[in-house]
Symmetry: C2
Amino acid sequence: MAEIKDKFSDFVNHLQKKITSEIELLDQKSKFKNDKWIRKEGGGGLTMVIENGNVFEKGGVNVSKVHGILPKSMSELLGVDQSDFFACGISMVLHPKNPMAPTFHSNLRFFELYQKNKIIDCWFGGGLDLTPYYLFEKDAHLFHSSCKKICDKFNSNYYIKFKEKCDKYFWNTHRNEARGVGGLFFDYCRGKSKDEMNNWLMFIQELGNSFMDPYLDIVRKRTKMRYSKQNVDWQQIRRGRYVEFNLLHDKGTLFGLKTNGRIESILMSMPPRVKWNYDSKPEKGSDEENLIKILKSPKNWI
Amino acid sequence: MAEIKDKFSDFVNHLQKKITSEIELLDQKSKFKNDKWIRKEGGGGLTMVIENGNVFEKGGVNVSKVHGILPKSMSELLGVDQSDFFACGISMVLHPKNPMAPTFHSNLRFFELYQKNKIIDCWFGGGLDLTPYYLFEKDAHLFHSSCKKICDKFNSNYYIKFKEKCDKYFWNTHRNEARGVGGLFFDYCRGKSKDEMNNWLMFIQELGNSFMDPYLDIVRKRTKMRYSKQNVDWQQIRRGRYVEFNLLHDKGTLFGLKTNGRIESILMSMPPRVKWNYDSKPEKGSDEENLIKILKSPKNWI
């Protein structure tokens, strides 16, 4: 589906520019650093990273477009014979400075497989999720409502389906708790016809064009709040769980690291400052304990 | 080999007491916190952790003695039918505050397998390694010399064999660099006779009784050195590599997390404060760059 591929490819470029401008505008201090990179085996990408901002302590917005022979580990995973592939995606992680503001992650991707120069399969995947350090139910509600609104434009089953997949995926099994309050997660979104694939493309585009508004609204609000050293400590301890998820469970990270991806682009998701205290437990009845309680089982936020 | 098992079991208890006393004596500020824990499926352990000391920012010395039905993932790894097991070990990680002082890790363990209540196999394993943030060749030399001295008492081939295994094991594949300057690593140390097993026991005991002296000598010396905020930043960035190794590659950590081990005891190895800056590169000709160069290929330290 050459058209879909080209349209999505243009879309991610445009989206990267749009999102990074919005972030810079809000931050008012730091600017994104651009790193263009080339993949030896085919393709490359543009990694854009912001650090030490007024609002964002660290954040990255990556676009990658890679192609070549499908790595063996991936062909085994997908259950296909030796193939060529094209993969294009935009992924972003934003770690605000203020512990009252949540971390945001999103990824939108398109995958195409070829044998003897003919397309044998193609699909979209992606998702977005919110990781608060202090829970404001209003924020989780706003975030999920906007996810539902976008989903409902396309299919009234999408939201509940993709929300559940998200809760399942962003689960820190070894801690028996969610990474955050979830969002959406979907993969292998295929279409039998060109129209169906176009529908998926429109869904992905709608998501990409819409998800920053509610998130930046939340950040704008929370970033004005006062916070203590103790709040920062808690944020850094919780960021440790984020690291644990990404390095132990996140398939994207592990796949990237095992297939010789660009390390710095993959690990731009790592939080800037992190703490591991031994057996740290929040005080009974505290806001910190409240967060943990909520993360113990997925909640319906709408 | 009931005798070996009991002797090793007593030994690790004694060693834990001895080592934690030595550390407290050196630290002069913080004391170890003791956490006795029970494993639902059989056995338990004693986790001892020190935090926010004068000398040690964080450190743990764990003893565990667990038994029961061998988890499936483990029987597959070992290539045995359904068995019962007993595993006993002492493991420790010490993260000094001063960036001039290296992090130290050691693990000594004994494993026994049973079928129909009869021992079908038993072996020792373990190792120790040093992770400097600033390289003092003298320290690496002292550490390796003392490793060699202990090894040579038992077999003139041990040092070079176990040193090479260590270099291979503590390799951060995704970064293409060593975790630190290495040390010793050995596993599946079996004996055909009781005498041979006793020899391994004596080797392990000799190691356990000796390895703290050179390490604490190094710490005593380096902890007196002055350091800057920039040195601490570098230490925290390098600690990020330590986290990456433990969560991505360390078999012990991953096995523990996947078999429902005690999370806090397994992750006591995590450094206390860690940083991930995007694509951080040391200045040309700096001490920081020198460390990286050395870590790119294993070196002969003697």
